[in-house]
Symmetry: C2
Subunit: 265 residues, 2 copies
């Protein structure tokens, strides 16, 4: 059976899920394209529903992936190119998309040891920045990315694309300010915040031990209440005339300086 | 006089310039919003033409900036909100835009000394990545950003926004492969390329002395011909499951590691 009408109820529901407007309690989202779907599978994401076009299964790799997916769900829909274009969030749809779910953890379920490295985001709003930070956190071997309230949704197509699949590699948690503070106190996790007027450079600071870097909103930075709880204020030195760095750039410099100090050259 | 029709010839020409479709030899582009226009003025960009709305000049800061601009050009047009919305590239237009020009240099006009640090881009296509790299290059005190053929245009609104004004702070040059090779040979500038299979980590490499980092296309990386000319192959270590980093993230890590080695903690 082929779905050829964009007003089909399953298509409409999938679009609501893609836009993260569905009512359900599950963390449902849409992943698109063979590469990210393979990463979702490898990471153990639950696949609920699959949509594909004949163009996709015309290729052998397409048939193979669909074979793998058919072991995970029986909800597999063949759709017309026109319908797929509606379902897709990209300008060059690749003919395969899935509705998937993946757990977002609470802080008490995060891995912890004496040298854990965490990334906490306080109101990052740009999907590209959020996705890039998740990708960099994965690369740097961070133990988790924690999203405080006011941070943008991590499971929209733009964020998922910007993570290049890393959204399935690094544990993600949601937390309130109070939960964060109780958790860091319980485990003795130091909090580091970057600020332009910090007394010392990131390259002088001691970044070993259990540590959480907090990065803030693109315009306003980290909220004062959170800043006031920091153990470590560090600045990334600015040598030209730029007044600040992009938040994903700051995160990369901080995380890799921590990695350098921890792992040695 | 108020321009209230989007089909006015000056508006149409300004939109062509914004889209970088104008025929002229000058490097003309559109800058939008008071903050970036102030940075353009401070950097000595030539202002050719200004468009503003009554909403913009209703505020004192608006009147002040228009006063400054009127010393630079007599081509100042009052336009309706409707016309400004057509002219603007953003969803929340700020009521002021200017057609400006700014020099793009040839390599022989770039500053050089024995510790110069350059960023060369070989086919970076995403405007957000290009803008972020220019901003980070400014922050790190790089001497210039050099764009090889196939790299995206640096003077479109998206790139200019992503630079947060840094496009006016760091010298920009355009070059062919041959020009780059002749220039690096003449000055004895080392070329560094990041590659996943490089023998050593960026943190082990010696990044002092006159050095040009080359970063490549988002999908294909640095072209082989350019790679083959490199003196230094370095990798950014990946500790999680991520297969690679975003190009602007890689550039930030490389540039700040060079800065750390050069300036000390």
């Amino acid at each position: 059976m082929l779905i050829s009408s964009p007003s089909n109820s399953r298509i409409k529901e999938a679009i609501r899920i893609r836009e993260r407007k569905h009512a359900e309690g599950d963390n449902l989202f849409v992943v698109e394209g063979p590469k990210i779907i393979e990463m979702a599978l490898a990471a153990g994401a639950k696949i609920r529903e699959v949509f594909f076009t004949d163009h996709f299964t015309a290729k052998n790799e397409g048939k193979e992936l669909l074979g793998l997916l058919s072991k995970k769900t029986t909800d597999i829909c063949r759709v017309s190119d026109h319908v797929f274009a509606k379902l897709s969030d990209t300008e060059t749809p690749q003919g395969i998309a899935a509705v998937a779910s993946y757990p977002v953890l609470s802080l008490d379920r995060l891995p912890f040891n004496a040298t854990s490295l965490y990334v906490v985001l306080d109101g990052v709003r740009d999907p590209g920045n959020l996705g890039t930070i998740i990708r960099t956190s994965d690369a740097a071997g961070a133990d988790a990315v924690i999203l405080l309230e006011g941070t943008c949704d991590a499971f929209t197509p733009k964020v998922i694309r910007a993570t290049a699949g890393s959204i399935f590699n690094v544990p993600l948690a949601l937390a309130t300010d109070d939960q964060l503070m109780a958790w860091r106190k319980e485990h003795g996790i130091k909090i580091a915040v970057t600020a332009a007027d910090a007394p010392r450079s990131i390259f002088e600071a001691e970044l070993t031990g259990a540590l959480a870097f907090i990065f803030g909103n693109e315009a306003r930075g980290v909220r004062k209440a959170i800043k006031d709880s920091a153990d470590l204020f560090v600045k990334i030195p600015l040598y030209g005339k730029a007044e600040s760095l992009n938040v994903a750039t700051s995160a990369a410099i901080c995380l890799y300086e921590a990695v350098r100090q921890r792992r040695g050259p």
